[in-house]
Symmetry: D3
């Protein structure tokens, strides 16, 4: 178990390349810190969904959020443009294989690999909710950076214009409400845009 | 929900003072990155426990690990010595009150506050397992830092000498096994110590 | 003497949490760097006061400015919100006790402890002048950060609206003049606010 | 021309993931700083080769050294393990395509693309000399890091054990001499290893 | 050769003081990263010049760009104001002497020293083109920093108002075109200035 | 007064080049943090001297310690090797002129300039005591860095072998005692050296 933990430890120091490639200082956000943000967002969303009657396996939500970026210890935090050159299918296969190798010593029954595959394919509602949390945590981070003066991050907001979370009912509504309040907060920050 | 998420976002950048006060570079580990490490450790431990027949609510383990340091957005990451001057009871009360205020907008039924109180008092088995994961993640971090050359961190290993995780049966055994493999890895690093 | 010096050395690397909790990069300002800024400000203010006839013990001003944050090596740089949860009296007691322990090996006659107590209670004119320098250095830092593009620091300027330095005569006037020139410099920076 | 320059500017801030994944602080070495090191090494090696009668196009050496990592602005600095999962051929193709897109606005006659392809295939002597400089700069960096206390970088030295620079004659000899003096300097650093 | 390479390695970590003195974070740009930027700019400019019929020794351009800041390992990256107090002649002499000592072990025929002297005196067209690239890379860096939110860097743009590159014909035109496109990009960033 | 304070503010972020040129991370120690360390050391030494009957103007000690590095906002933190190339007399003149310009708006009677000149020439006992504190703080910093694993800093300890503080009587003795305890602490750290 220790070798897996030591390897995942590395995500604590791996910078998200999205920030450094845009000229923000090193140390802006590590992959581990982002995973924490995704998980917090996912838990609050999931509990809200449950409260409004959505049937949801919250434990599964928490597990997927926790492990969704583990492959990056071996593949790195590839910038979005990298996918253009490798193809999204090749990227998915590489990350899936890397994930399987990482968890191999601790995944006797393959349950971690199953959760990862579910996430990669957005099969379950839980996987799609984590993906929504992944996007929303990104936007909250952008908002936080803009609040302390960062600029030049407009391209991230384009994601927010045509979000396809592929949820439905109350889950979709709850995610949209949070998205809307993020967009409102941004409007207050840049009233003239 | 957004105001809570924005506040918790701050943990992504808050340095663990244990490292900076000992002279390690800023950015060594954020509170969010540590929380991620604790949660990974807790999940692997918990799944191992379940596999060996321990009756355990893994969702609860994941929830407690995720939220156990949230109070630090308001109280800061107080160094261990601070407790000597405030008293551990005052510290516990302050952190509990801060936690309650942070989650107030999203904790209609008080379930987050209950989990936090459980953790602070180490009442449930799940809470005690997260505490063990908190200690083990710290030791793995120290091991990782020593592997890249950091020194002067001996005092952290004293914790490992007389660990009182207050677990029992297979859970205790599993935690002790992980602790032992950490200690072994350290011995290999410093064969003459 | 060495053990005290080594302990105080730690302030060189301890980040001021006010900046990191607001999302500014690690390394923005250490407690030691802030202490330097407070002392420079205090000396210039004190010399100006003396030149205008205020009776003042400048050596005492310099001593208080130098030592006013030493307790933070043991208690940490607690964010302002922490005081809400601990109470300002408990905080003062904890910091006073920590300070006494830190200087114990070098404070045979208790003179450092006396200066610290004076500062904590703002008893002497010298202590109040250092407190003013502490606030003014903070505002100059905020101004410097805003000049290089930082935003979201408005709450710090609220301090400047109702300053209660509790000085009088020429000392009050000199401090107010500096405060006013800081506010003017800020107005030039944000002409439309 | 400006859009290309702005894009390549990003390499100034992109951390080499080899260091951060091993736990060294962010900011240890940027891709641009590494490129500078490779080019300095390549020029000194090339001039030495010429002085010993090797026929070499030094301008070509300088050009290849300068541009050999440009693709990383779009593909990122992928860790070595990433190649295991993508395959070295896919990686080469992706980087070649990314490079072509980056230089497209300034490469009317395809000469930059040709140099890049040459380097990727190690066709010319000049390309192989730059590859040697790439490895040697890495080892000098590791040596420099170990000199200030870094540890846990042994795996980098394995590269040095079976180097296949595929050079010949005086060029091979000069490269081996530099490699040997690096290894000697390392032996002095760790006399007991 | 190794001792020279190890010494030049230091430029990878030496911050450009222009940024830190203005309050930008440490790690904004190293001297090595800047040298990389200057060389990229110089190569693109030189190739453009050649394409338009300017007679130019591109290898010489690349060599000068690569070595133009090496003296800073011994003299440091002196802020512009330092020249006011030392005098530009004394600064030139000191840097020239430092450069000669640095390259001494690898500069049997004095060719590096000659290139450096040429650059310091802007004698050749190649030297003046590198100086233009040095200024243009600075402006592109300022532009990149302003795009992510940095402010307070107006004084750097004053350089751009009265540039005296001392080139002529197509070379002057090409440099002016790049300068103009930088200024245009900046105007788009701050439309109201 | 504000323009002087804003200029001196810059020392909070200016890295000591001694560390970065040796490969330690950016942010290891700012000039302001070092000044704080010197002043703490100087005050403890001075108070100790007074207690043992040395006649000393402690206010003057504090003033000199506070301002001894102010010239660096204009001249930079020049590495020791820079003095070899500029000459120590030229360096002294440049720094003295820079200092005079910095304090000009606040130094009506020239008292700051006098203190600076005194320090540069080591005329008074107070100036020599601050110089001793400057060296001792450097050694304590090296000790602190070595304790967390830094290596390759041996050349700093050579200073400690032949210290010429040019003090006498109890002052010399007190400084030597502190030096000796620093050397002892280092011996404990590296028992085999």
């Amino acid at each position: 178990m220790l070798s897996t933990l030591i390897e995942l430890q590395r995500l604590k120091r791996l910078d998200r390349t999205g920030w450094t490639l845009r000229g923000l200082p090193n140390g802006t956000e590590s992959v581990a810190a982002h995973s924490f943000g995704v998980e917090v967002t996912a838990m609050l969303l999931a509990d809200h969904c449950t409260a409004r009657g959505v049937s949801l396996d919250v434990e599964k939500v928490l597990r997927i959020a926790l492990l969704h970026d583990w492959a990056e210890t071996r593949v790195g935090d590839m910038p979005r443009t990298a996918t253009l050159y490798f193809g999204s299918e090749a990227r998915k296969q590489a990350e899936t294989a890397a994930f399987a190798d990482i968890v191999n010593p601790v995944d006797a029954n393959g349950s971690y690999a199953n959760l990862y595959n579910d996430y990669e394919r957005r099969e379950s509602l839980e996987a799609r909710l984590v993906k929504a949390a992944d996007v929303l945590d990104l936007l909250i981070e952008v908002l936080a950076l803009e609040r302390v003066g960062a600029r030049g991050l407009d391209e991230f907001w384009e994601v927010a214009e045509k979000p396809d979370f592929n949820l439905e009912g109350a889950a979709e509504q709850i995610v949209q409400e949070l998205l809307q309040s993020i967009l409102n907060a941004r409007s207050e920050l840049h009233p003239n845009v």
